[in-house]
């Protein structure tokens, strides 16, 4: 079965490369709409990596929430705030070069630490299935679960109030 | 009424039509469309499409006498007639040129009403589509000519009524001629009696 695992590893590395490229594209593309699409591709890549780690539930939730809802929300925002013919203003400000240097420095420090510490090699027992996650959510993490739901409700109402038209009389188009 | 029932009733109607379309007769919910080229709808007698010129027996003696009434009456002015002249320039009672532009004609049938000589009638033939508008759809005299039998075939009652009227007119004309002839002979006979006393001799000698 050796070649199969090799195939899976190669697949994972490929997905990593694609999502890295997509991330770079989403950061550097001038047209904001294309940047959002590139981010969607990057997030799909990350969902692929979750699948590689046998965390299917997380992968599917990631696709559902991120690619399904957040990117759609971003595109809605882009449509509402962008003139049909987007003006050709420079997409990046002047800090480009300096920030690149700092970022590269940070990355090299991180890599050095990662390489030096001894990480456990083998993966542990079978991956947690959906039911174990459910038990855990309702078990030890039930408090965090309730807090998250409160936060989400607050955000829901907050976002609506901010984005709504100023005069309550008029219904939003 | 529960919220969804109006929609359900509507759906039942289409489902009924879906089911009945398989076995019901055309006007009770069955298939009422006709697959045109293979099967055709029965042709109505009074249906009028583009006009045609009528001739009795052979294409030579066509009824049209080039009187130009239909050309004047035609609303969109799509008829063009040129009278025929024989060798020494005397006008004949025949059209040399009789063109109808079928792209202009709106088959309203007014030429048929206005023609005093029963020469032009509306046809039933409607499959005359062609690629070329100018040449093919400008019908000349010979393309328009159709026989009286054809007229009887497509419009039996009208044709027989018209033929009856024409025969009557024929007899009346013959009778009138006969009467005129008789009257004319009678007048000669009367004139002859008024003159017999003086020249009996030459008549007897010749």
């Amino acid at each position: 079965m050796l070649p199969l695992t090799l195939l899976v590893k190669a697949g994972l590395y490929l997905i990593m490369a694609i999502s890295l490229l997509a991330a770079v594209a989403s950061v550097s593309l001038p047209n904001i709409f294309h940047a959002a699409l590139a981010l969607a591709l990057a997030l799909l890549g990350i969902a692929g990596i979750y699948l590689g780690l046998q965390a299917e539930f997380v992968a599917v939730v990631q696709v559902l929430i991120y690619v399904g809802a957040v990117i759609t929300l971003v595109i809605f925002a882009i449509m509402l705030t962008n003139r049909m013919a987007d003006r050709s203003t420079p997409a990046k400000n002047s800090l480009g070069a300096a920030c690149l240097a700092v970022a590269a420095g940070l990355f090299s420090i991180l890599v050095r630490f990662i390489r030096s510490t001894p990480w456990p090699e083998t993966t542990s027992a079978p991956a947690p299935g959906t039911s174990e996650i459910g038990q855990a959510l309702m078990g030890p993490y039930v408090f965090a679960f309730e807090v998250i739901s409160v936060i989400l409700i607050a955000v829901l109402i907050g976002a609506m109030v901010i984005a709504k038209k100023d005069n309550p009389g008029e219904d939003a188009p | 009424m529960i919220f969804g029932t109006g929609i359900l009733q509507g759906l039942m109607v289409t489902l009924k039509n879906f089911v009945t379309s398989y076995f019901k007769a055309p006007d009770e919910g069955g298939i009422f469309t006709v697959e045109y080229p293979e099967k055709r709808l029965p042709e109505k007698e009074r249906f009028r499409n583009f006009p045609f010129l009528l001739y009795d027996k052979n294409p030579e003696n066509l009824r049209c006498v080039a009187c130009d009434i239909c050309a004047k009456e035609c609303p969109p002015k799509c008829i063009y007639i040129v009278r025929e002249f024989d060798k020494d320039g005397k006008p004949l009672k025949r059209p040399a040129v009789f063109d109808i532009d079928f792209t202009v004609c709106m088959n309203c049938g007014i030429c048929e009403e206005a023609c005093p000589f029963d020469a032009i009638y509306m046809d039933h033939e409607f499959e005359i589509a062609s690629a070329d508008r100018h040449a093919k759809l400008l019908y000349h005299r010979d393309d328009l000519l159709k026989s009286n039998e054809y007229f009887h075939k497509i419009r039996p009652t009208d044709a027989s009524a018209i033929d009856a009227r024409r025969r009557e007119a024929e007899e009346k004309k013959k009778a009138a001629e006969a009467a005129a002839l008789a009257a004319q002979k009678a007048k000669e006979a009367a004139a002859a009696q008024a003159k017999p006393p003086e020249p009996p001799k030459p008549a007897a000698g010749a």
Binding site: - | T14, R46, F47, E73, P75, C108, I110, A114
Partner: protein, 385 residues
Amino acid sequence: MTEKTFSLHGAGDMDTQTLEINIGPQHPSTHGVFRMNVVLDGETIVSLKPVMGYLHRNHEQIAENMSYTGSMPYTDRLDYFNSMSNNFGYAMAVEKLANIEVPERAHYIRIIMAELTRLVNHVSVIGFLLNDLGAFFTPVLYAFREREKILDIFEEVAGARMMCNYLRFGGVKYDLSPEVLARIAGILKKFPKFLEEFETLLTKNEILCMRCQNVGVLPAELAVSASVTGPMLRASGVNYDIRKADNYSLYERFKFRVPLGQKGDVYDRYYVRILEMRESLKILEQAVKEIPAGDIMSKKMVPFLKSPRNFKPPVGEAYARVEAPKGELGYYVVSDGTAQPWRYHVRAPSFINLTILEDLCIGQKVADAIIILGSVDIVLGELDR
């Protein structure tokens, strides 16, 4: 007319972009070549300018150098859905001008034909309104199934399905044979069953009610001041039907009622048309039963059948109006004694009913503008003339 402007939020600066789009002349649901220049704010309509004239064929000018009978086939092409009632109006105008007296049987035949065209028109209009609403051609095809039967009768009687050119001044061109009358009676027996099925499919359909009720409301005084006529006016509750108001031809002999709506929205205009079809059926039953024998052409006018050219009505002018399925269809004919009318004008109901389209559509959504146009029921042939 109060200029109802839709107040834009904020002092005048457009917060969200207003979108200006052209609906038509090349558009799937404008009933012919008709353009609406619509300014949208999101989905709501801010302003709507109808643009017409794409189908203008100069009908009134052509009629001025044509014999009176010659322009009869052109009236078929005004409102090509009901050519018989167009002929009816024109024939009555010239008869009033030359005071020609029409025999009774011809009156009955004219009324039968006019009411049959009313059935055809209302059924097709409802079908097309449902098409604009999105029902995928099913109501239209049910409507056209009934329309085919009536058009076959027209073809048998007048010679053509839609361009009948059947009426002449002083009567009608051909007579109604007994079996045609029997076939009309057969249709009248089956039509209520079809109307029943049509109503169960549509009237109580929740989506239709959701889409059509309280949309494009036409208040009665706006309708009267804009001289709107026909089912649109009666849907707003104004009791004005020319068949009852003028009692032209022999309409006072027939017992029928005039349905009136209350709110005047798209739903009322739809349902008033269905009730009107029921009333027309009553008229047709009475007419087919009581049609008297007799000749179909007034003696005075028979010679002119043969030679339309030398029919010269006396100098003068006449205006006759008919309750066409779309509204009051009027013909104004001025004669100077020659064989050609000096002036000829058609009062087209579609054109007059369309003037209030903007008032109905402002503030509604794009989807509503399309169905409001559908409920106004315009035909471009008559509108542009």
